[in-house]
């Protein structure tokens, strides 16, 4: 995983709440067995509408997505995170993220920055008025700056550390194999196994 410290880029305002993972990437794109190349599935249904925000040239190169509350609800598909990242997004800003989506993002290095809805509204107004506005997301300071808006964002402290260091979870856990073996030795015999 790449380290994440500061990112600056153009932001797309997605004025919608409850953007579920079926909207982020429909099920038909989930049949692939590779981990990359999901950018064509991102918001596939909405992108058929020429007025959709990502179809507007001004936001075509956006790397920050500013969304309404409850972003990433529904299915656990990590493909939603891969699609956003493959498309070029580095950060999603919202007042509330679904738990599984937020967890998946943290594993992959997509920053989910939580701010109050009034900050979202200010950022929407700002980037709608001037699509060229550069939005800076500083993970070390947990701070977003754009035009005259400066706001702290919330991010889980452990996820923040992992993103700043670019560490992957499996490697971290593998440091504790002895403790896992110790735990396994003490499991009760009535716990089921899947093999007969």
């Amino acid at each position: 995983m790449d380290k994440f410290t500061v990112h600056t880029g153009i932001a797309a305002p997605l004025r919608a709440s409850n953007v579920d993972t079926d909207q982020i990437i429909p099920a038909e794109y989930l049949k692939r067995i590779t981990r990359h190349g999901f950018e064509d599935g991102l918001f596939a249904a909405w992108r058929k509408d020429s007025s959709f925000i990502l179809n507007q040239p001004a936001y075509a190169n956006a790397t920050v997505l500013i969304a309404g509350p409850d972003f990433g609800t529904g299915s656990s598909r990590e493909h939603a995170v891969w699609a956003l990242m493959d498309y070029g997004f580095k950060v999603v800003i919202s007042s509330r993220f679904a738990d599984i989506f937020r967890g998946n993002s943290g594993k992959q290095g997509l920053l989910t920055a939580v701010v109050d809805q009034d900050v979202v509204e200010k950022l929407w107004a700002l980037v709608e008025a001037n699509p060229e506005t550069q939005v800076t997301v500083d993970l070390e300071k947990s701070q977003i700056t754009a035009g005259d808006v400066t706001a702290k964002f919330e991010v889980d402290s452990y996820v923040r550390w992992r993103l700043l260091e670019g560490l992957d979870d499996v490697g971290l856990t593998m440091r504790h194999v002895d403790q896992i073996a110790e735990f396994e030795a003490k499991r009760p015999s009535f716990k089921p196994v899947t093999v007969s």
């Binding site: 099920a27 981990r35 409850d70 656990s76 998946n104 499996v170 009760p188 009535f190 899947t194």
Partner: protein, 472 residues
């Protein structure tokens, strides 16, 4: 004095492998269920790192999301679906993971298979790369959906680093009216707390109305916890739970059974346990409940009307309602029972179990489905299908003009041949009414099996009571 603990806290504590300041707890996972959609990239990750599956004996795979529900012994027609199913079979063979493939008597939807084998037991941690893993919480297990990176993590280590959840008690006092099902109850709860209401929480459903439910009804409730934003929902294990597990293939036997029951009996939340949030619902106020919009929180009683954006008090919900009405092709103020349905889907991990099929068959028996309407019956597993056939339920559905299909996720999610066409409207016993969920442009109303059956007969969203009025 030490404070009492909740069910969720007890299960959590019993699985902590490692705890360190400033880090998530490392939890041991008792059961990891795997399916074809969220696992191929996880197995690739293992391969790239040269890692084995740490505990193949705590891992089980089944094919469900992609599989057709007709002609299952022929090769899967869609080459992309076939490749994904083949990848699962190859990965399981390479890594030594047990798998129930299409055609196996144990194949079915992952969340139907685990409980019916007796693999899901109280006090366990259960994960799967599928958000409806919350289903298994009905047994008093801590069960939740994970992403593909976490699937890889569990395959490699049989553990997950996790931050503790908050706890929310949802207490349903009193008795449910006779025509109200577990599905109506959970749809009502989601409409009440919202699709984000459970975020960060484990929900614990409790109270007299929950205690009175069967295991299958409890699974319906816990299944849709994720639709309220909660990763997990739980119900305290009791005699109903023990009775359901006893004698199943993977249930503890002999002295192990006694030890297990003794442990399971310690799990219910202590009387002085504190929850971070509490919701109270009076069961007697409930009635059959269906969704009108494009998220599971957009629901109303079946006997009411389609709401107007003006009925909502904040701008976000007003906008969402207007957008949903447009997508659904509905006009505010229309009686819900006037909504005409094209397709009725009975199945899914929410309502694809034998009790669901029995409930629908009892209503349909001796009648024909409405002219021009399509009804698909998709059992949640091969075992459910065979049980239904041994009771003659298949013939009841076939005689009524419905399609009797093989087991799988089917029309719940539009990943296999069973899909809605644009503009087609369904009454579906599944769990998500998102835009395009059942096929691009499809319009979904989430309903109980009983409402699905009555709707199939009348052609408009209906309850069994409406049927009695008509038939006399």
């Amino acid at each position: 004095m030490k404070l009492g603990r909740t069910l969720a806290e007890k299960v959590w504590e019993d699985h902590v492998v490692r705890r360190a300041d400033g880090e998530p707890d490392l939890l041991f996972i008792d059961l990891h269920l795997v399916h074809e959609v969220t696992s191929p990239q996880a197995f690739d990750g293992l391969r790239a790192a040269g890692r084995p599956v740490h505990r193949t004996d705590l891992t089980l795979a089944t094919e469900d999301h992609n599989v057709p529900t007709m002609d299952i012994l022929k090769p899967i027609a869609d080459p992309v679906s076939r490749a994904q199913v083949d990848a699962l079979r190859n990965n399981c063979a390479e890594f030594g993971v047990p798998i129930f493939s299409l055609g196996n008597a144990e194949q079915g939807i992952v969340h139907v298979v685990g409980p019916q084998l007796g693999l899901t037991q109280p006090g366990m941690t259960v994960v799967c790369g599928d958000s409806h893993t919350s289903t298994h919480g009905a047994f008093g297990a801590l069960a939740f959906g994970i992403g593909t990176s976490e699937v890889e993590h569990v395959l490699a280590t049989q553990t997950l680093p996790l931050k503790p959840f908050k706890t929310m008690a949802i207490t349903i006092n009193g008795a449910l009216p006779a025509d109200v099902t577990a599905k109506d109850l959970i749809l009502t709860i989601i409409a009440k707390i919202g699709t984000g209401g459970g975020q960060g929480y484990v929900l614990e459903y409790r109270g007299d109305a929950i205690k009175a439910l069967s295991m299958e009804a409890r699974m319906t409730i816990c299944n849709m916890s994720i639709e309220a934003g909660a990763r997990a929902g739980m119900i305290a294990p009791d005699e109903t739970t023990f009775e359901y597990i006893k004698g199943r293939e993977h249930a503890p036997k002999g002295a192990d059974w006694d030890a297990a029951v003794e442990y399971w009996s310690t799990l219910p939340s202590d009387a002085d346990a504190r929850y971070d949030a509490e919701v109270l619902i009076d069961a007697s106020t409930l009635s059959p409940f269906v969704t009108w919009g494009t998220n599971p929180g957009q629901g109303v009683p079946l006997a009411s009307v389609v709401p107007s954006p003006d009925d909502f008090d904040n701008e976000t919900e007003k906008t969402a309602a207007a957008k949903a009405l447009e997508y659904m092709g509905l006009t505010a103020g229309t009686p819900v029972k006037d909504i005409k349905i094209d397709t009725v889907f009975l199945g899914s991990c929410t309502n694809g179990r034998i009790e669901d099929l029995r409930a629908a068959a009892a209503i349909i028996k001796g009648h024909k489905i409405a002219d021009g309407l399509r009804m698909m019956i998709v059992p949640g597993s091969v075992k459910v299908r065979l049980a239904a056939m041994s009771e003659g339920l298949d013939q009841i559905f076939i005689d009524a003009g419905a399609e009797w299909r093989e087991a799988g996720c089917s029309m719940c999610l539009g990943m296999n041949p069973d899909k809605l066409v644009p503009g087609e409207r369904s009454a579906s016993t599944s769990n998500r009414n998102f835009e395009g969920r059942q096929g691009p442009g499809g319009r979904t109303h989430l309903v109980s099996p009983q409402v699905a059956a009555a709707t199939a007969l009348r052609g408009t969203l209906s309850s069994p009571a409406d049927l009695e009025e008509k038939v006399g």
